[in-house]
Homo-oligomer: 255 residues x 2
């Protein structure tokens, strides 16, 4: 034990590690799961979990397991990615969904992945694997290509090293992807054809706040050929609207 | 200092208090704001904030202030209120929005308030004051009345003590509200007419998981008279769909 300051640091990071033990594949964890996943002794885990539960960061299910609490959900709604970007974009996404009935995506780049910030889909939309908060590779998604086309050089270099094959149609040759990204910049939109999921194609456009590309807006449809110009127009109108809303709200710094 | 266990409890609760200092009216706080709002000494606040930032629970803005970080947003997406109820309901909400273009609400009761779990609105929808994560009184909203009609006796008794007037049309007489709630149970839907905001009327229905009313689904429109039967049908179809989805997913325990 190296004095109070070190003990304090350790306790906070342990409490945070307990929260971090939850992910999309582990939404519900028993106390012993939590202790094991965080390598925290059971008695300590028990005490910290009780504090987290009391505050509302964790909630206990009828079966005795723990889940992320409503208070964390409410706090998360205050994060700028949600309260700034997602909220500014929301009416435009709904307009776009109302016009197309396609699955609509709003995404940002987080490192070398696409992070889905919002997603609208009804029962008539093409089934897709993305969820809000989920991540997918940049090179295999429409929103990812739209983001990668405007990403810094170092991000592009790293992304080109990881062109993993997901379907038979995924672009895995660096030269071919570079040519596609050049066309995204020239034409203002990105497309994919079954590169992430068979049966799903996508079109996406960048969302700008001033000069900066801060997000991408995309739709997923079974087939691009017939309606591409109409979809690109609808996406661009919505992306401009989001950009204007972001630029007009100086308190929004969502990155 | 009463030994390690007490120090630990104090540190965790201080870290949580720093997170809890953020709310809808305080989305961005300076270090000194944080220290003042939590009554934590500046040096301690500084150290804890640095740990929270390192983990991603807080993020630092270009102006030096702190905001809730993306990691808390992502964790919040795992909360059952989001991952269970909101996700199960999402396609039905979008169908309902596509059919009506009205503002669509999904809400749960949290104590004596309505907590808005999801909200869809396009640019043609009636402007409303609710936001996802915001709370409003039970007695003045359509979703609130739908929830109150099926609430336990003690909740009803407490709610009847707090019939605050919000507009000239808010129901503030206990006997009149009780009669309305009886009709909600008999007819299966609740309505409001400018009781929360002038110019906005609402219709709402309960969402059931088995026998339990677990949420309410509502739409906000400028005028109820012309389309009420059609709106009630659309809401009931969607509410049954959500209920079936919840009942069919045994891992979902979202309450």
């Amino acid at each position: 034990m190296a004095g109070n300051s070190s003990a304090a640091r350790s306790v906070t990071s342990r409490a945070l590690d307990l929260l971090g033990a939850f992910d999309a594949d582990h939404r519900s964890l028993s106390l012993s799961d939590l202790a094991r996943r965080t390598e925290i002794p059971l008695a300590t885990a028990h005490r910290l979990v009780a504090e987290l539960q009391k505050w509302g960061a964790l909630a206990r299910e009828p079966d005795g397991s723990y889940v992320i609490g409503r208070r964390i959900w409410q706090l998360g709604l205050l994060a700028p990615v949600q309260s700034g970007l997602r909220q500014a974009a929301s009416p435009f996404l709904h307009d776009l969904y109302g016009a197309t009935l396609a699955t609509v995506h709003l995404a940002v780049r987080d490192g070398l992945e696409v992070l889905y910030v919002d997603r609208l889909a009804g029962h008539v939309s093409v089934p897709v694997i993305s969820k809000v908060g989920s991540r997918l590779p940049l090179h295999a998604t429409g929103v990812g290509k739209a983001l990668l086309a405007y990403a810094p050089e170092d991000v592009l270099v790293e992304a080109l090293k990881r062109l993993t094959r997901i379907t038979a149609y995924t672009v895995t040759q660096p030269a071919r992807l570079l040519e596609q990204l050049r066309r995204v910049r020239a034409e203002g939109y990105a497309t994919t054809g079954e590169e992430m999921s068979l049966g799903a194609c996508s079109v996406a456009v960048p969302v700008r706040n001033g000069d900066q590309v801060v997000a991408a807006l995309g739709i997923v449809v079974p087939d691009l050929r017939r309606q591409l110009p109409r979809m690109v127009s609808a996406l661009q109108v919505a992306a401009h609207g989001i950009g204007r809303t972001l630029a007009g709200t100086p308190s929004v710094q969502w990155k």
